[in-house]
């Protein structure tokens, strides 16, 4: 078995356990390539053209994809537009069809609307990689998070992972929940009640509102960025209060009777959801996540390209 069950990476929800394992194993091989002293590059996607279409701001995800594509020797074009300028005229479908008319094979898209890559998939032929669709999914982030947990802890099954922060406005949380559950981890979410969707327990996870208790329970804590830009109304009184009552800091970690791993998908609001002391500490694997992101994205692109062939 060396093929994905899907033509697009729309979300973790649509992947089988075998798909996820295949991606992680393939990423192992690409990580070796990236760690070579010279020629950190393979010719696998030499004949493919990939368009990175970003309708929402992104630095690290876009760079990570771009680097992954370059390491695979693909040709790339980049398109970035704020949603508002697109809204004025062209529809999403027209924009993408125009790009595809220039003979592009694969689309990596970030968009603020949940389901927008699913919508595209119904209307275009190219493979689609979801690089984040609003408050829905961010599948490559979840895959690189899973990869990083596996790298640090040997395996994911049986591990306890808590996701802390703004769960309601987070695509990272949802994709992580789907991925970790499929791989056999126990998952909890933690944060103020207003930032946790009412029915989230039905996904088979625990809900905790006390950060200390959540940290004491877990092996791994994935701390999310507070998504101020995605909130239509303020669901908590102030950043100051958030940092005081829900932030992850040294005194909390010192009170634990065990060592836990700290993750963050970035970009970090230092001093809000996590203090610098912790983000830069030995507990943290935040920069490993970034490094693994390139290998995981190479694996995704490579495996999807095989589906086209």
């Amino acid at each position: 078995m060396s093929q994905l069950s899907v033509r697009h990476l729309l979300g973790i929800k649509n992947l089988t356990v075998q798909d996820i394992e295949l991606i992680l194993e393939t990423a192992d091989k690409f990580k070796e390539v990236l760690n070579r002293p010279t020629i950190k590059k393979v010719p696998s996607l030499r004949d493919l053209t990939i368009a990175n279409v970003f309708f929402e701001n992104s630095t690290r995800t876009r760079l990570s994809f771009e680097l992954a594509e370059k390491r695979l020797s693909a040709d790339i074009i980049n398109f970035a537009a704020s949603n508002s300028s697109v809204k004025k005229g062209e529809t999403l479908l027209d924009t993408v069809n125009n790009i595809l008319a220039m003979k592009v094979d694969m689309i990596v898209m970030r968009h603020s609307s949940p389901g927008s890559p699913h919508f595209l998939a119904k209307h275009i032929k190219a493979n689609i990689v979801n690089a984040g669709d609003g408050t829905h999914e961010h599948p490559t982030q979840a895959l690189l998070d899973a990869y990083s947990i596996r790298e640090k802890h040997g395996e994911i099954a049986g591990k306890k992972v808590v996701i802390i922060g703004d769960i309601a406005h987070s695509r990272v949380a949802l994709s992580n929940i789907f991925a970790l559950k499929k791989l056999g981890a126990e998952v909890a979410v933690c944060g103020p009640k207003t930032l946790i969707p009412k029915y989230i327990e039905s996904l088979g996870i625990r809900v905790e509102h006390d950060v200390f208790k959540a940290l004491q329970w877990c092996d791994v804590a994935n701390v999310l960025r507070i998504q101020l830009e995605r909130q239509h109304s303020r669901d908590f009184p102030s950043l100051r209060e958030y940092a005081l009552y829900f932030g992850v800091n040294k005194s909390l970690l010192d009170r634990l009777d065990k060592k836990i791993t700290i993750m963050h998908p970035g970009p970090i609001n230092r001093g809000v959801e996590i203090t610098s002391e912790i983000a830069d500490s030995e507990h943290s694997i935040i920069l490993n996540q970034v490094e693994n992101g390139v290998a995981v994205r190479m694996a995704v692109l490579y495996l999807l390209a095989e589906q086209t062939a």
Partner: protein, 418 residues
Amino acid sequence: MNILLSSVQILDPDSPFYRQRTNVLIRDHRIVSIGNEHFESDQIVDCQAFSLSAGWLDMFCHIPEGSEWKDDLLSVSQAAAAGGFTEIAMLPNTQPVLQNKQAIEFVKSKSKFLLTQIHPIAAASLETEGKDMTEILDLRQAGAVAFSDGLNPLTSGRLLVSILQYLQHFDGLLINLAEEKSMTEYATMHEGIHSVSLGLKGMPSVAEKLAIIKILELLRYAGGRIHLSKISTSEGVELIRNAKKEGLQITCDIAAHQLAFTDADLADFDTNLKVKPPFRSQNDIESLIAGLQDSTIDCVVSAHEPHDEEGKKLEFDLAEFGIIGLETAFASLNTYAKLSVEQMVEKLALNPRKILGLEIPKIAVGELANLTLFDPLQTWTFTKKDIRSKSKNTPFVNHVFTGKVIGVFNQSQFQLFL
């Protein structure tokens, strides 16, 4: 013109032939003979599988005059006829809004020669903005059958009280939606496990419940008569059931499509499933069916809301709410509600007219034909070709239904879909 409906089941409760099969002869658009003897006729329709009732009336239908490429009076009339409706009450959300005498007269005069007659519902507030009352007495004089802000729920307590009081001058009817808007802003589907896993903001059932509680309190205070359209939740049905027991003058309807889908069906982000109120849970559907059966829910409406492709072929959160429904309303009701044909006729033909104060057409000798002929058992597949509306925004394409409209008669016209 001469047409014989042979061996048709009569579903007029006032007819001596009620529930029986007999022959009905229509000549020059008038019922001229009813009985078991054979009548000579140019055209004979074998109706052994069919039932005949007063023509159906749709109480909640949006005709987007002003955006005529989506639908206009003529195309809606044709779609309505195909769906078995011989009369429609049209929402005021046109451009310009139906809020003066001239607009009401325009609709009435334009619909004079259409098979499906169109009754205007006038705006209750100016521009349907929910601030100031329209000239209700004058609009009624011109022929408005009811008052409503249509697709925009009226929420101001002060204005609701004023309108309810003012309408009592002539026992007028206010039609309203039940939506607490502060809880549905930015939401695109029902709040529940599916909205969580799709990353979409949900409209909680409590938003409907709160709106109904508020409206019931205002009705107790102001008196008058209100009809709530497109009820969608278990909680809503229960509140209205109790309000009716209490003796409040409240009636309600559901959209026929509400019975056919749940929030689970949105997994693929199909914008033709984006409706307001949203598709809810199976439990809610069961409660709606119970409400239909015990007469808590008086009517079933098409909730026809045409949108062009530009409004629907979009990202889910940017797409418009609403679907067309005239051609599929009866089929959806008949397929999913488990009602008797007698109950269906109540919901589609009798109760809407009682609520709007319109005369109920009779199946009796001497009457002008205002009739719907239908087959409650026929199984068929709805396809794109069956769409008469100018807009195609429906999730029902390739849907298999039980129950088909066979013909309609009204305004000295008829159409058979054999």
